[in-house]
């Protein structure tokens, strides 16, 4: 029997995503086969337009592949749609976007609670988890603030906390530090790394920032929609 942590949490096979057709055809992703295992802390790197966002969107079930397959936690998400896919994202995937992460009319704590509310987690349990995670991402005491009253770095930490709190199989982060100054960017990454180390949470994030990619355990290099290099680091 395979050890459970050897089981890939993400498996893509011959994944292609094309935009347009004929003259204007863009192969945003071109035959990408990739395994990501539980507990990994991996970075998708490559120049702008290399297909990082496209790949993350496909893995996260936000977009449909032109061909190929995406398996997440043993389920073919490229074959899901509608409520099934919504519920799958809610229960299995955490998202951190570059910006516009938070619902602006909800406080930090309420934003973190949001997915648990969709999941029907009981009130007391939600409260407990929210205060716990706020502590963990270094936002203790800021739970009642509305997003506009938080700095960019703090907002991204709230997004990390929200992604984390419902205990998904994987957290996908598309350039989470792109809108932050380098100090907040690095400290955000430190928080993510800590959650990865202490709780075994799997992270896949994209970046083209040298300082950020240095902290990844695995670097997946993309160029013109293809994986050109895949290096493990220690």
């Amino acid at each position: 029997m395979n050890e459970p942590h050897r089981q890939p949490v993400i498996k893509t096979e011959h994944l292609c995503r094309h935009f347009g057709e004929g003259e204007t055809l863009v192969k945003a992703l071109d035959d990408v086969t990739l395994n990501i295992e539980r507990g990994e802390f991996s970075a998708l790197i490559g120049p702008s337009g290399s297909g990082k966002s496209t790949l993350l969107n496909l893995i996260g079930g936000l977009d449909n592949p032109t061909s190929g397959s995406v398996e997440l936690a043993g389920r073919r998400i490229d074959q899901m749609s509608g409520n099934e896919l919504s519920d799958f994202r809610r229960d299995h995937i955490g998202f951190i976007f570059q910006s516009y992460n938070l619902i602006p009319v909800l406080t930090a704590a309420e934003n973190i609670e949001y997915i648990m509310l969709l999941q029907g987690v009981p009130h007391a349990e939600r409260r407990r988890r929210v205060s716990d995670i706020l502590d963990r991402v270094g936002l203790a005491g800021l739970g009642e603030r509305l997003p506009p009253a938080l700095s960019g770095g703090q907002q991204q930490r709230v997004a990390v906390a929200r992604a984390m709190v419902s205990e998904p199989d994987i957290i996908l982060a598309d350039e989470p530090t792109a809108n932050l100054d380098s100090k907040s960017g690095i400290s955000l990454l430190e928080v993510m790394r800590e959650l990865n180390r202490d709780q075994g949470m799997t992270f896949v994030f994209s970046t083209h920032d040298q300082k950020i990619m240095e902290r990844a355990r695995r670097l997946i290099h993309l160029e013109d929609g293809r994986i050109v290099k895949d290096e493990q680091r220690v």
Binding site: L62, D63, V105, L106, E110
Partner: protein
Amino acid sequence: MLFKLAFRNILRQRRRTILTTISMAGGYLLSAMSFSMIDGSYSNVIRIFTEDETGHLQIHSKDYADKPRIYKTIDTLNVLNETLHAENHIKSFTPRTFAPALAYAEDNHAPVQVIGIDNELETDTSRLREKLASGQWLTAQPDSEGYFDALIGQGAATSLEIGVGDEIVLISQGADGSVANDLFRVKGTVGTRRSQERLNVYLPLQAAQPFLSLGPNQVHEIAIVLDDISLTDNIAAALTETLGRLVPDLTVSTWPEIQKTFYQSMQADKRSNAVTLGIILFIVFVGVLNTVLMSVLERTREFGMMKALGSRSSLVLTMILLETMLLATASIILGILIAIPVILWLTHSGFSLPDPVDLGGVPFSHMKGEFSARVMLLPAAIIYGYALAVSFLPGLRAARILPVEAMQTH
């Protein structure tokens, strides 16, 4: 949570929220006032119409109403008297006889309608007595010379060139086919030269019955006034049942049946008013639609993000519908607060029109409103309906947003 979200979302653009609320509240006020005025005027018309002469219900012999003939009589006035007295909700009733006749006076003659009335009961049931233009009301006894009283319409008085105190000879046909003729003394004149009773001659029932060879329990019509017009159909049904057992071959008709033309033109008027109102409200809601569209479009990214996180489409749609419903509720509350004093004023004072308008054939110069649950709730239902309708499509659009596309818009 959905409530919290919807509520905070509408507080986000305060200025827009306030404007939308005010315009919907205006729509509410406008419709409530129109309904109040429409209902009010028609209740008024109906009241005048029914209390004038018709009453709310009438009883006739089987097909008298369709083809009136002198011999088609109700023959059991005594039984009906008892039955009608026993019935709750009947305010008053009065028996009548009808016959066409020729009236002669000195050198002139004129065709008239002879109507036998109960000089006391008629007073409680119709407005005839209020229309006395000269002279006095009928008495039930003959005068010292043995002549019974007659009241004549102003039209007949004019063409016969007679007035109070003059004699009038009526010639008609009795129920048995015999020739009826007798002399009466004009006790008074009623109405004007143009009013509907201008060619009528009213006799006390005690004189009209023998004149037409009818017995004391024989009449052509019983007009009934109820203490609440809304009971018309119920009481008609109840009477039809009771009378059906006691005295067959009678029909009970309601005022809309008796005054078919009036009733139909009134309904048509009401419908056309409702259409006009619908169009005005539609214009109000084009504005609301615009607001809803704007607020949905500018939040495209947010909806995309919510969906990416795993919110179902139905949740997004519900949230948007809820936002509009909350706005509509606020507007209706505001509308009601303003409408109550306005409509109470319309109901109690009303206003005078510079030119009388014609409602179902009755000229109207003073308009009054009506205050009722219908007047207050129907506009609320319309506002909710419109609010749902205008937010549904934008809501659906937002709910169907694809997260990737939504998150790419800037």
